[in-house]
Amino acid sequence: MTTALKEWPLWEVFVRSKQGLEHKHCGSLHAADAAQALDMARDVYTRRQEGVSIWVVPSAQITASNPDEKGELFDPAADKIYRHPTFYEIPDEVGHM
């Protein structure tokens, strides 16, 4: 076993703060395996009742978009203002729509 492999792998922790809400990224930790990562996430990230459900994902398994491609990935959405409800004017007498 080389030294580099002696470190426990890193996991990303996602916590659902209450029923009905989505899981939100809250941090990371080291654990030897998934079951342990889950337990440790419970001990590290929910000591103050911050959660009702936890996901853990090996950090190495996350594929992230390249910040250099931010322009081509996300800017094209900027001018599609017709996707938003406020783009459309509806007469007041129609009421809420």
Binding site: H30, A32, Q36, D39, M40, D43, R47
Partner: protein, 260 residues
């Protein structure tokens, strides 16, 4: 003392003494994540002890308080299992010192949590409603302690040659102390007779099942038991409890009229 208080003190002392021992790891754990996890176990145990002492204090009345019970009783008055007061190491004389051994910690937490997961569940039906309520709360906590210690037991037993050897040694050292679980005491007998407590014998088969299942998975051998049966719950302790209490109680006793 009444039937209930003797029995409640046994339960309370168990929780406090093990909580005190586990807290020794705070700041010294094998990895940060585990340091934090073990502190949670300690906090649960100290919380259980406090509820139980508060219940005893209310039954005793007068100027009894949780802290009087924890800090101003002497070694011979403590009713915890001897298992729980031993240092986190192999067999040692009272004044000898050794490094904290995580194998010992895990084996002990496992053996005790396996018992308490069964006992708290049974005590949910205690005739003493306050105790039943404490049992319900403690049951959730101990189920997590059992899961935590059992998972680690398997990791350590199955892990490396070194971890296997260390964990087997810890098991060989500690297992004999579990004989105390199954020998009666006047306090337990009286509590059972009054419907407050449980006949531990009825839990033994389930406990054996939990232990054997985990040991098999951990590739550990269950040692044959013979010889000395400890009697901490009757007030006859190892040399270690005196040191544990001397340290724990020193400040409170140096300022008996202090406000904290």
């Amino acid at each position: 003392m009444s039937t209930a208080t003797d029995y409640l003190l046994h339960l309370a002392d168990n929780a406090l003494v093990l909580g005190q021992r586990n807290a020794e790891w705070c700041g010294h754990g094998p990895i940060l994540e585990e340091d934090i996890a073990l502190s949670n176990v300690s906090l649960d145990l100290i919380g259980q002890a406090r509820l139980l002492y508060q219940l005893v204090a209310s039954l005793q009345g007068g100027d009894a308080t949780e802290d009087k019970l924890a800090y101003f009783r002497d070694t011979g008055e403590f009713r915890n299992y001897t298992l729980l007061e031993l240092p986190h190491s192999g067999p040692l004389s009272g004044y000898a010192h050794a490094s904290l051994d995580y194998g010992t910690t895990i084996v002990r937490n496992f053996l005790y949590s396996a018992l308490m997961a069964l006992l708290w569940e049974a005590l949910e039906k205690s005739a003493n409603a306050d105790l039943a309520a404490i049992a319900s709360k403690s049951l959730k906590e101990v189920r997590y302690h059992l899961r935590h210690s059992r998972d680690w037991l398997v990791r350590l037993g199955d892990g490396t040659d070194e971890s296997h050897a260390r964990t087997q040694a810890a098991l060989d050292h500690l297992m004999p102390y579990t004989q105390e679980f199954w020998t009666g005491s006047p306090a337990e007998a009286a509590a059972f007779a009054a419907g407050i407590g449980v006949d531990l014998q009825t839990l033994k088969a389930d406990w054996d099942g939990i232990v054997d299942g985990a040991l098999t998975e951990a590739t550990l051998k269950r040692p044959l038991l013979e010889g000395y049966v400890s009697e901490g719950k009757k007030g006859l302790h190892s040399e270690h409890l005196g040191f544990l209490l001397a340290e724990m109680q020193s400040l409170a006793r140096a300022h008996p009229n202090g406000n904290w």
